[in-house]
Symmetry: C2
Subunit: 431 residues, 2 copies
């Protein structure tokens, strides 16, 4: 069993992250380190589903905590897509240096997306915590909090919203309430997507999904309650001295359009319906509605709150959509192998109609990654001259979507983990 797992992992690693993964796996096989020793360090293991722990996660290798000797990560994907001529890229590693591609010297290699991202997560989580206090009746609030404040949430939508707001010169405080609201919306949609009548996922981010803990009825209601709470949060918390009510209304419409029958609900419906064929149009439409819309909405809302003009909003819209789909196509490529190892629904992402790899094959999926990466970056080139370095987070998001150069973690959790490690070391030393 283990050797089979290794074999599969090696195959995909050779395909995707060769030679980095190949080297790592060869090293593991050579020194015969047991999966059981390494896997508890992975964020993607389910504490309540020990059998699943045998599914070998690529995440463990990408984690900055992973203790193997550092290797420069110019993977197959990275090297494949880096040669496209975008002027800006980011340094993904806060604790290491990625050597620039010889053909494309980075103009702004100092930008640290990981630090930028991590620095905001704690504030977002604190705001979310405060926005959903436990009140009567407790159960519904507990169910809402369980998903919204879950470990492992990347807070990608909020970060995107804040970044586009700041890009166009908006104050960060104007976008924070909407950023948090987007996370509520995202959580609500995940709760509903995981239900047995949808993707039937017992796990979400390696933890029991909401209905696994609270039951189907309560999970459904927690989702139903999070959607409107998001709207209340936006209206109640957006500083009206900085944002005119018309802009808030536009944000509300944008989110409503994203959530409903023109967006995520339609995407999810297309995903759970019997397979609609393998044509590219179909699978890409599902991806655009189910995933692209949320990134598009996040980018647009930030722009609206920051005071972006019409042309800028349109550019952000196309950028966000391309980025959202790009992220999911890469996820598809990474998850496709997991699907072979895990049973359906265990991963928290079951895609009957939304798997690009299944529908179009790995080769076409890789081409799409390249096309979307180029499209996303092209859309924001327009901002470079006007806003300078403020556009860097947006370029970096595109690279991150492909490269997944770090594991997103809140500073609070990182600090807690660091404290725990220190304490452990002290205890080891004293004992």
């Amino acid at each position: 069993m283990e050797s089979n797992s290794y074999q599969r992992e090696r195959e995909i690693a050779m395909y995707l992250y060769c030679p980095f993964f190949g080297r790592v796996l060869a090293f593991l096989q050579r020194v015969q380190i047991s999966c059981d020793v390494l896997l508890p360090r992975s964020r993607s293991l389910a504490p309540l589903y020990p059998n699943e722990a045998m599914a070998f996660s690529a995440t463990v290798f990408l984690s900055p905590k992973f203790s193997l000797p550092k290797v420069s990560p110019p993977s197959y994907l990275i090297s494949k897509f880096r040669h496209s001529s975008f002027p800006i890229r980011c340094d993904f590693s806060s604790d290491g240096t990625v050597p620039p591609s010889p053909s494309q010297p980075p103009l702004h290699s100092s930008f640290d997306l990981r630090a930028y991202w991590t620095s905001m997560i704690s504030q977002i989580e604190a705001d979310l915590d405060a926005a959903i206090p436990v009140a009567y009746p407790d159960q519904i609030y507990e169910a809402m909090r369980y998903s919204v404040l879950a470990d492992g949430a990347k807070r990608a939508a909020p970060i995107m919203c804040i970044a586009t707001c700041e890009l166009v010169g908006g104050d960060r405080s104007t976008s924070f309430p909407t950023a948090c609201a987007l996370e509520m919306i995202h959580s609500a949609s995940l709760i509903h997507d995981d239900l047995p009548c949808m993707d039937a996922a017992p796990l979400r981010r390696a933890y029991p999904s909401n209905h696994t803990v609270f039951g189907i009825g309560l999970a459904l209601l927690a989702g139903d309650a999070l959607f409107p709470l998001a709207f209340r949060h936006i209206v109640g918390r957006t500083p009206n001295s900085l944002v005119p009510p018309e802009a808030v209304l536009r944000v509300i419409v944008e989110i409503a359009r994203t959530v409903g029958s023109t967006g995520m609900a339609a995407g999810q419906m297309l995903d759970i319906l019997p397979a609609v064929g393998n044509e590219q149009t179909d699978v890409m439409t599902v991806l655009e509605k189910k995933f692209g819309k949320m990134a598009e909405c996040s980018a647009v809302c930030g722009g609206l709150l920051g005071g972006a003009g019409k042309v800028e909003i349109e550019a952000l819209k196309r950028y966000g959509k391309a980025l959202g789909v790009l992220y999911e196509v890469v996820d598809d490529i990474l998850l496709e192998e997991k699907r072979g190892i895990w049973s359906n629904g265990q991963s928290g992402k079951m895609r009957s109609n939304a798997s690009v790899v299944m529908a179009l094959g790995m080769e076409r999926a890789m081409e799409i990654v390249g096309e979307l990466k180029e499209k996303a970056k092209n859309e924001i080139n327009v901002f470079g001259d006007k806003y300078g370095d403020r556009v860097l987070p947006l370029y970096s998001f595109v690279d991150y979507a492909v490269e997944r150069g770090f594991v997103v973690e809140s500073t609070r959790k990182a600090a807690a983990a660091a404290t725990a490690t220190t304490t452990e070391n002290c205890n080891s030393g004293s004992s």
Copy 2:
């Protein structure tokens, strides 16, 4: 079986609508008219569930189409609560005259709630029809339309919203979009409430519930899509020349508060949880959240759009809440007998924790009806001097909640039914 049904019906009729119902039932028993002959005329019978047709519905007797000789309807409930000293009442029957109680001459007996209500339903339904056009992907729009445009919907929330807007001097056009949005919200909550993980109701208003027709997943998504569509509809359709954006934002917050964890979602959660005891606080809290909130919201939104002041909004809030709970307590009383005949969940309303009659007994339920009727009317007395006759619809809603003096039907459907009857008569005459 039939005689048992008659017996039960007669018992509740004697209690509630005596001597009117008592007389009708005695007449039926005397002439031995079969249930099967009469029941197809009732709106509350399920065409797809013929067995349910044996459940004897009180509605059939209240229908204006019911062809028994007209009897003045001073029922037990009506006579019990009419002696409270409210200056205004309405004439519920558009095709007959209700003799005024000798002790309380009506000051405004000319107000015809049925005509007022019916006149607006067609416009509301036309707007709803236009607001949910079928687009790609068709299935989700079909599912949304199925519930929103369902036969038998009373459109009580929209009518309330329009009435309170007009009460405070607002133009009807300012409240129409929100009125329609409230109906979408109401439909969405009913779709979710009917799901197997909730009330498990295969029927809604005597027709198959949404998930019975479209499946659970699609029904869930139809609900998820209707909530945001409601917000889009308000923002997109409310005339901004007449309503300032701040008022629209307040309406959105009001609806969000009603739908979420402070309102209907919490109420539904309390209703599906294991019984929480029989104390009055609990059952009334469930009723207030699950039903009172929607009426409260409808009244408040109309007021906000019409430009009501703070004190007026507070009065409308208390009025709406009392009215919403009142309606449901009376429904409880009427349905309690049906519960004995029908199996759980078949009625489209299953209430484990929200049945006042079950929790507190019929006598206390009747007292609560009296208290709420008085409270609701007291709350709007303040509007009488300022707005004159415009307050009449609000008084009439209270009486309607208790008396159910007519069956609400759109003019379009009524016209269609009239045409059908005429055609039928012509055909009979010619044949």
